[in-house]
Amino acid sequence: MKTLVLVPAYNEAARIGRVLAGIRAAVPGADVLVVDDGSADDTAGVARAAGARVVRLPFNLGAGVAAQTGYKLAVREGYACVAQLDADGQHEPADLPALVALIERGETDVAIGSRFLGATTTYRPGTLRRVGMALFGLLAWMLTGVRFSDVTSGFRAFGRDVVRFVATEWYPTDYADADVLITLRRAGFRLREVPVRMYPRAGGRSMHAGLRPVYYVFKMLLSVALAPVRREPAEQKRGLT
């Protein structure tokens, strides 16, 4: 089964090398693709030197667009599974096989790495972020009937049909997390959480800096609220089968 490990990256030259080495060690058989989201530093060069395939966006378009570029490539090249993790070292590559295995065994369509499921959680978010996560978790629960312990996780694996689905036009261009899970659930895909380790950032700039969290909350509330009344998901899925 062909698996693609997708690493969207923006100005991560200092950290991505270690992440890629970790991926190599964890899933030696998988192809690794780095989507460089218009970085100003040598992210692409470092990634290539580490043996990854690199796709460079001509300018910075946001994490969601970078990830979707990877999904589009995966659809065209026929990958059966796409596993995605952050380039900044927050996600533990050694947890990849657990996510990929669920997809390979066909036990789920979407495997989400949750930092709160395992007993070994070392992640301690600040109060504000915890409140936000709880709020979106509650909303996701109300809208899908599924309890997610970690709705903002960017550590996940998609099966073939899900990849084809997220490669289409409705996929959000920024902050694609809680609303994506809700849309996928409503489109009829199976979702499963898997305990993973997450670490604090090793440096660099988080996408949640300055006033961005305010916009994040607004955007997520709006797209979560609209997810049930948007018509695309059902239609898209029907088109796939």
């Binding site: 989507v35 395939r53 796709v55 966006l57 001509p58 300018f59 378009l61 570029t69």
Partner: protein, 119 residues
């Protein structure tokens, strides 16, 4: 004012609105403004001309929306028009954003494939 426009007022209002109408047409003629984005402006300029030459219409509309003076009616529709233009542009910008996104992704994927082939 409620009795109608003086000749002086009519002349000024008609000249102004005709100039605006012609200005928009000229932009389209010189291809500085695309036809599909000109219709809202032409509509507004046309409405201005119509209201000047047929002032009774403004009085009827004023009565219809329950405004006190024709000035209120004009102001109301001016604000509504600006609102419509702004939303119109937001929709266009959203469409352009997603087209630019798709082009950028396509460019990135195609050039990656080219590079890999040349290596």
């Amino acid at each position: 004012m409620t009795q109608g426009l003086t000749l002086h007022q009519t002349a000024f209002a008609l000249t102004t609105s005709l100039l605006i109408f012609l200005f928009i047409l000229e932009l389209v003629r010189r291809r500085r403004l695309r036809e599909e984005y000109s219709w809202l402006w032409l509509l507004a300029a046309g409405a201005m001309v119509l209201l000047v030459v047929w002032f009774r219409l403004l009085m009827i509309i004023t009565h219809l929306v329950g405004a006190v003076t024709p000035l209120n009616t004009l102001l109301l529709f001016a604000v509504l028009f600006l609102f419509a233009i702004a939303v119109h542009y937001s929709v266009i910008v959203s469409r352009l954003t997603s087209q630019v996104k798709n082009l950028a992704q396509e460019l990135a994927l195609v050039s990656a494939r080219l590079e890999e082939r040349e290596r």
